[in-house]
Amino acid sequence: MPELPELNPVIHGKLRLALLSLLIGVEEAEFTWLRTKTGSTDGNLGAQLLKLEEAGYVAVEKKFVQRKPQTLYRMTEAGRLALTEYVQALKQLLGAAIGA
């Protein structure tokens, strides 16, 4: 019987998973857009994005647009790969759970 895969703990958190799934569909997204889509608070969102950044899954860019600060997040190649692997592992586990 094949060994069941481990789920990546960095991605497994619901909000972090939602953030990576949102970012995979866009080139880059602003903090406020991510907050609206996830319905999260500023503090929680910032903390989870920092964890993703530390893991190398998202890259952050801070700039000023019309004198207003803007924080943009984009998914890195490592993040894309990690999410793909996570989905594959999830499907494998689900297959095993249904088959059991």
């Binding site: 497994h12 619901k14 998973l17 939602a18 799934s21 949102l22 970012l23 995979i24 569909g25 866009v26 080139e27 880059e28 997204a29 602003e30 406020t32 857009w33 609206t36 889509k37 319905g39 647009v65 019309q66 803007q70 999410l83 989905v87 999830l90 499907k91 586990l93 689900l94 759970a97 249904i98 059991a100």
Partner: protein
């Protein structure tokens, strides 16, 4: 029981991923207002170049198109930057922006050169404008899979053909008809569609 919870959790995670990916892809900028803005700009340019305005400095019809188009371009740029900085960048959005930007620059350079060199007549101008707008509308419609916009492309191409074979008056009528349907009517229709989509998204986010 543990297995049952795990299965539910796994399905929950998968559905979260699917929903969020769909949410990200559904993100579209609202750009239908640009069709109306440019439709109005074309009408101003046509009216100015045909009849001029009250003041003497405004009666130089050769200024009509370059000045109106430059003002419309600047307005579009400013409003688009203001509206788009809160929307995430998507590949499709960048592609569509590139098509319209490149088309705008090409049209500006060509029409200005034709006008200054005196090589173009009004029918040729209409044919060039209509063909280029047909191209940009067709490319956008294929990217967005939006049949209604492809219909606009067909109307523009028909106006270009009519301009080549018709009289000056028929050419002007063809241009005005195309502007009315493909800029004003299509712009209003696009804004209604965007408002509906926003309402739907707000409902699903609530």
């Amino acid at each position: 029981m543990t297995d049952r919870i795990t299965e539910i959790e796994l399905k929950d995670r998968l559905s979260l991923i699917e929903n969020m990916i769909a949410e990200g892809r559904r993100t579209t900028g609202s750009y239908s207002w640009t069709f109306i803005l440019w439709g109005v700009a074309y009408c101003v340019a046509i009216a100015w170049s045909s009849w001029g305005f009250g003041w003497s400095m405004w009666t130089h019809s050769y200024l009509a198109w370059p000045v109106t188009m430059t003002v419309a371009f600047a307005l579009t740029w400013v409003l688009a930057v203001r509206k788009s900085h809160k929307q995430p960048g998507t590949t499709a959005g960048r592609g569509i922006g590139a098509i319209w930007f490149a088309m705008g620059i090409s049209m500006f350079v060509l029409l200005l050169s034709l006008g200054l060199s005196g090589r173009g007549d009004s029918q040729l101008f209409v044919a060039v404008i209509a063909t280029m707008l047909g191209t940009a509308n067709a490319a956008s419609s294929m990217l967005l899979k939006w049949k209604q916009q492809f219909a606009c492309a067909v109307v523009w191409w028909a106006a270009a053909v009519a301009s080549c074979f018709g009289t000056v008056a028929q050419s002007t009528i063809a241009l005005l008809v195309a502007i009315f349907f493909c800029q004003i009517v299509f712009g209003i229709y696009g804004m209604i569609c965007e408002a509906r989509l926003r309402k739907q998204q707000d409902g699903s986010n609530a």
